[in-house]
């Protein structure tokens, strides 16, 4: 699996196979008394897409900006492509990484093409402006001014500005936040194109589907710490229950019998209803219905679905991933 050849064809040879593209150890960053990032260790291999999943304020952006060399950590070690920020060669390493910040607004009055051309001029090597416009599907919008673009097109432009240097390592901070599903899908396609070129990605998101679709490994982050770190499948697996039953009944439900239903791993109360994690819906559902029948109560709502990263997050933090 390990392939050290970098997309830019650069300094791969002398690096050992195990040398990670990105490594950080014991990274700490405080804003006042509150730790935004609290002792984080991480290794990302070449060609991997790594996701940081967490709610707003979890410290994802702070961590990413430390990795990008834009914020200095209070403690800890950060190594990008074998280099530590502030080692006197920052500019040379900026040639090899690319960054898409959360909520960057590019110059309003420039057109799409002019903006990409400007960013291209900062790099010694890279892809042609034409090629990147093609990749990011910006051809129709190339003469459009930035302030006239839709949210999705703006994000694709931001991606194009990052991709134009043909980076080895790409940081994406919430690349699809606030976009409608169709626009999000188009952004994913651009990111997947970069993955197909064997580029390494570090991505933050609070969308489940995004992490599940794009990321090879995911860290669940809250209050500046990693609560879990694994592949999306393994994280769901760790729940020990593959499926979820959510239901609401009229008041006066006695939940003490729920634990005895076959295959139930956990019972949680949520918004006046209950969430059961079960190993099999087909086994648990008839027993649940019988229990409700026995108490002579009316079922108001019933949802069954496979377990997702959101359930993992809920179990780990007791909170919701998104505020909505």
């Amino acid at each position: 699996m390990e392939d050290v050849q970098s997309p830019a064809g650069g300094a791969g040879k002398e690096r050992k196979l195990e040398t990670p593209t990105l490594r950080c150890q014991g990274v700490v960053k405080h804003y006042g008394e509150v730790p935004a990032v609290d002792r984080v260790d991480l290794e990302v291999r070449q060609g991997e897409c790594f996701g940081l999943l967490g709610p707003n304020g979890a410290g994802k952006t702070t961590l990413v900006e430390i990795l990008e060399g834009l914020t200095r950590p209070d403690h800890g070690l950060v190594e990008i492509l074998g280099y530590r920020w502030g080692g006197g060669d920052d500019r040379a390493f900026r040639e090899r990484i690319a960054v898409q910040l959360q909520e960057t607004q590019l110059a309003d009055k420039l057109t799409v093409e002019e903006t990409i051309r400007l960013f291209r001029s900062f790099f010694k090597k890279g892809r042609s402006v034409e090629e990147v416009i093609e990749t990011a599907e910006l051809n129709e919008k190339r003469r459009e001014r930035v302030h006239k673009l839709s949210g999705g097109t703006k994000q694709r432009l931001a991606l194009a500005c990052a991709l134009v240097s043909d980076p080895e390592l790409l940081f994406l901070d919430e690349p699809t936040t606030g976009l409608d599903p169709q626009a999000r899908y188009k952004v994913w396609e651009v990111i997947e194109d970069f993955k197909a070129r064997r580029g390494t990605i570090v991505l933050t998101t609070h969308y489940m589907e995004e992490a599940a679709r794009l990321c090879d490994r995911v860290a669940i982050m809250d209050h500046g710490r990693f609560l879990a770190l694994d592949t999306p499948a393994a994280l769901v697996e760790s729940l020990g229950a593959r499926e979820i039953i959510e239901f609401n009944v009229k008041d006066g439900f006695d939940s003490s019998g729920l634990e005895r239903i076959s295959g139930v791993k956990s019972v949680d109360k949520k918004e006046g209803g209950y969430v059961l994690k079960v190993s099999s819906i087909s086994a648990a559902l008839p027993e649940l219905m019988a229990e409700i029948e026995k108490q002579k109560l009316k079922l108001v709502r019933l949802v069954t679905r496979p377990a997702t990263l959101e359930d993992v997050f809920m179990r780990l933090t007791g909170g919701k991933l998104r505020d909505d």
Binding site: L70, V99, L101, T104, R117
Partner: protein, 365 residues
């Protein structure tokens, strides 16, 4: 149509700044149109009136007609007959510079000596405000005109030799000041506003994440300012020349050098003001705080010589004063560049100091 590969970042940064500026209609108005309109308005308001005679009121009494006729013989004076109840107000509002009336004893004997104004020795009263120089001048001229008309013999034979100094009209004085003020405004706003906007929109941070040289970013501002400078100064100089006949008596090259220096100095000041501000409101406040005193003190619209003498050295140390003075030395007085060495030193000092401090404290995120 598109060039392959990439061009130099400094070229692209400068080009971007130029594009952003010319695509902002408000910026175009404030930088190019507004100064021209201001010059036009002030030029018209303070234009040289061809018949700027002093206005003399002759109180409506017997013989007033003749008196007025004698006064009006002077090319500098214009006399009108005026009723006694109106004269006080006209004098106060500045419509009249001087009132001429007969002394009261003379009024008593008017029936005894009819129509003998020119032959008898009349007793006159001049009513005027001695703090107004026009009124004092009117008093002297009227007195002189009447004395001569009455037959006074001059003992000195003097003749006038009139000299028209270059750049003595108000508009000649005004235009260099407007250029200076405009260079200050567009330099400070052009750089300061754009930098703070880029910071609030996190564009500065995004740029800091690329290998772009930070000096290139700031140099891009300077270079684009340089290009606009030619248009800004050129438009005003040309406009003043065509509409008001304002000439540049010194060398155009010297004018260009001083403009360049002033522009860079104020771009540096703009950068300094914007170096840490994180909101447009903050930077606007600071800009006004810095520019407003200079508009008033630096001799843009009127000479700073009117301020108390102990303040003059401080006023002359202001960058806009230095720029305006150097501009006037070249445009109005036709002096060579080196005669303004002190002003240029002041500009360079402000420019270097602002750049040095701005680069040191500049906040990229």
């Amino acid at each position: 149509m598109t060039k392959p590969g990439s061009s130099h970042p400094l070229f692209q940064l400068t080009l971007s700044r130029l594009r952003e500026t010319i695509r902002e209609p408000e910026a175009i108005f404030w930088v190019f149109v507004f100064p021209v309109l201001l010059a036009l308005a002030l030029g018209i308001a303070f234009r040289e009136k061809p018949a700027s005679k002093l206005q003399i009121g002759v109180e409506d009494q017997k013989g007033a007609q003749e008196l007025a006729g004698l006064i009006s013989r002077s090319t500098e004076l214009h006399a009108v007959i005026i009723s006694p109840d109106q004269e006080a107000r006209d004098l106060r509002t500045g419509k009249l510079d001087l009132i001429v009336s007969r002394a009261s004893p003379a009024a008593k004997i008017k029936s005894a000596a009819p129509a003998q104004v020119a032959s008898k020795i009349p007793e006159l009263v001049y009513t005027y405000d001695p703090t107004r120089s026009d009124s004092r001048l009117a008093r002297l001229l009227v007195d002189d005109a009447l004395e001569r008309a009455m037959g006074r013999k001059d003992v000195i034979a003097a003749r006038d030799q009139k000299v028209t100094e270059p750049g003595t009209r108000y508009i000649d004085y005004l235009i260099p000041g407007l250029i200076g003020m405009n260079l200050m405004g567009s330099g400070m706003w052009g750089v300061g506003f754009a930098v703070v906007l880029a910071r609030t929109r996190k564009l500065l941070k995004r740029l800091a994440a690329t290998p772009m040289r930070r000096s290139h970013y700031l140099l891009g501002f300077m270079l684009s300012r340089l290009i606009f400078l030619v248009v800004e100064v050129g438009a005003l100089v040309l406009f003043a020349r065509i509409v008001f006949g304002v000439k540049v008596y010194g060398s155009l090259l010297d004018l260009a050098v001083v403009s360049l220096l002033g522009s860079m100095t104020f771009a540096g000041l703009g950068l300094l003001v914007a170096s840490r501000a994180t909101t447009i409101e903050t930077v606007s406040g600071w800009m006004n705080f810095i520019m407003l005193p200079m508009w008033l003190l630096s001799g843009t619209f009127f000479s700073y010589a009117r301020f108390p003498s102990f303040t003059i050295p401080f006023i002359r140390a202001l960058p806009l004063t230095a720029l305006n003075d150097a501009m006037r030395a070249i445009m109005n007085d036709g002096l060579p560049l080196f005669s303004s060495w002190l002003e240029m030193a002041v500009l360079i000092a402000w420019g270097i100091a602002s750049f040095a401090v701005a680069l040191r404290v500049f906040r990229w995120q």
